[in-house]
């Protein structure tokens, strides 16, 4: 029997998805580069930017706040239960604060915003694509990338750190609420413990993560929207791809950033 044929089939089976993945990475990178290149060049679409800040930042506050308060509360319970195994219940306030600011605030906030914003951006831009609105923009001498993608990406990148900061504060408050109502902590002592142990970089690193995650969310929404296939099915697929890719990229970027920021 000729061995070359199954071997070639094997290589093809491995090679095809790898090549497809590399192609997508290349295209997304070019797309991101084009957006960044346009940010500082006029014309600037301030109205679109303002609307994006409202949509992405302001209207995401409730979902980010709710996520944070429940997470902070659960975190306090878990750390108390775990800490009591070696008489270290007193670490609850500081670990809640560090856990929220460094990890859970940005990551869970990012994932919630990915679900909310990446999907809506992809659906909106995808619908514009399939109803020829993007073509119409071009014929009206307007660069769709500049008019649609740049304001959204910029707004998400700037709004996300603010959302993370709000989420951090609400998450710590959630921990504090559980601490003083369920775990017999003294309110003033809890807050003092939080303030004493929390370092600026704990918060700062989380905000930087937030900016990166915001960029990823809007980038994925715009990229998949603009590359949507035709018809309602195309828009559905684009929306799904935007949320999934934004979520996975957020988790991957989170690991990389944590490595960069905190590994000795």
């Amino acid at each position: 029997m000729n061995l070359a044929t199954p071997l070639a089939a094997l290589f093809a089976a491995i090679g095809r998805p790898v090549l497809a993945a590399l192609t997508s990475i290349g295209r997304v990178t070019l797309f991101a580069g084009a957006i960044v290149g346009h940010i500082l060049r006029p014309p600037f679409y301030l109205r679109e930017f303002g609307q994006s800040v409202l949509q992405i930042g302001w209207f995401s506050l409730p979902v980010v706040g709710l996520t944070a308060i429940f997470t902070g509360g659960a975190l306090a319970l878990q750390i108390y239960a775990g800490g009591s195994r070696f008489n270290a219940e007193s670490v609850v306030p500081s670990i809640v604060a560090i856990g929220m600011t460094r990890e859970l605030g940005p990551v869970l906030g990012g994932l919630m915003v990915a679900a909310r914003v990446a999907s809506s951006i992809a659906a909106e831009i995808g619908t514009m694509k399939v109803t020829e609105q993007i073509d119409a923009l071009v014929t009206l001498s307007t660069n769709p990338l500049k008019y649609l993608a740049v304001p959204r990406v910029l707004a998400a990148t700037l709004a996300m750190p603010v959302l993370v900061a709000v989420g951090d504060a609400i998450g710590i408050m959630g921990g504090w609420l559980v601490g003083i109502t369920r775990l017999d902590f003294n309110s003033a002592a809890y807050l003092k413990n939080t303030a004493d142990f929390l370092e600026p970089w704990d918060v700062g690193s989380g905000l930087v993560k937030g900016a990166v995650f915001g960029f990823i969310v809007a980038l994925m929404g715009c990229y998949h929207g603009m590359n949507s296939a035709r018809g309602a099915q195309g828009v559905g697929a684009a929306t799904k791809a935007a949320v999934v890719s934004a979520s996975v990229l957020i988790l991957a970027a989170n690991y990389l950033l944590t490595e960069v920021f905190f590994s000795a």
């Binding site: 109803t131 609105q133 073509d135 119409a136 071009v138 014929t139 307007t142």
Partner: protein
């Protein structure tokens, strides 16, 4: 003058344009006819650079359109899309005034709005419509807003993709007259796609029929009825039998 030479376009295995040769003289009204799905819309999009042809050359006043400065090139064009393609996040008047509100020669809001309302009136829409959103309009009204947007900046060259489909006969008459006026009075070059034979006769200086990826016939509208071309004859008389298969 727009010249197409051997323009080709395929989507996968679907060969849509197979070498289109066509000249659209300046200041004239060219009407493209042809069966549904023969690539008329794709042809317009190729000229505008929205679809990249696989082969052939398109020139505007002798200059290759792919080598022209995009902004200056597009500033000379207006386009009515088959589906209207209105921006649904913007109000009707903002849609119409889109180009007037942006760019180096942007007008103040109040002036742009006034022009927009004037253009809406020309397509038979009342000023009250100006502050609605496109989703609040009927299909035919949306089409007319798209038309108003295409002519708002008074471009030299205007493409109309089925301007009268979905309109009642009276409104279709108004639109035909408007297109004719734009060509005669403003000296614009128009390229219109239509299936409506009364529109063809009302609008056209010249007619071109697209079939099987090529221009099957082209000539002045006065010769349309007399041409012996069997494709044209079948098309203009709407016969089910003839050289054009009815299942495509």
């Amino acid at each position: 003058m727009i010249t197409l030479t051997g323009v080709q376009k395929s989507f996968g295995a679907n060969r849509v344009l197979a070498g289109v040769n066509l000249t659209i003289p300046s200041g004239q009204s060219m009407v493209i006819i042809g069966g549904s799905g023969t690539g008329k819309s794709v042809l317009l999009k190729c000229i505008l650079g929205l679809v990249r042809p696989d082969g052939g050359q398109i020139t505007l006043d002798g200059q290759d359109v792919t080598k022209a400065d995009r902004d200056a090139f597009l500033a000379r064009f207006g386009m009515l899309f088959q589906g209207g393609a209105l921006f649904d996040s913007l109000r009707v008047w903002e849609n119409v005034a889109f180009r007037l509100l942006r760019g180096a020669k942007a007008l103040p809001k109040a002036d742009a709005r006034e022009i927009a309302i004037g253009k809406l009136r020309r397509v038979g829409l009342k000023p009250e419509v100006a502050d609605l959103f496109p989703a609040e309009l009927s299909g035919g009204m949306q089409k007319r807003v798209g038309l108003a947007r295409a002519i708002a900046a008074e471009p030299e060259i205007i493409f109309f993709d089925e301007p009268t489909t979905g309109l009642d006969p009276i409104m279709a008459g108004v639109i035909n007259e408007l297109i004719r006026e734009i060509v005669v009075e403003m000296g614009a070059t128009a390229m219109t796609i239509t299936h409506d034979m009364s529109s063809v006769r009302a609008i056209a200086d010249r007619v071109a029929m697209l079939h099987a990826g090529v221009i099957q016939w082209t000539g002045p509208v006065s010769e349309l009825d007399a041409t012996p071309d069997p494709y044209v004859q079948q098309f203009i008389h709407g016969r089910a039998t003839g050289p054009i298969a009815s299942v495509r």
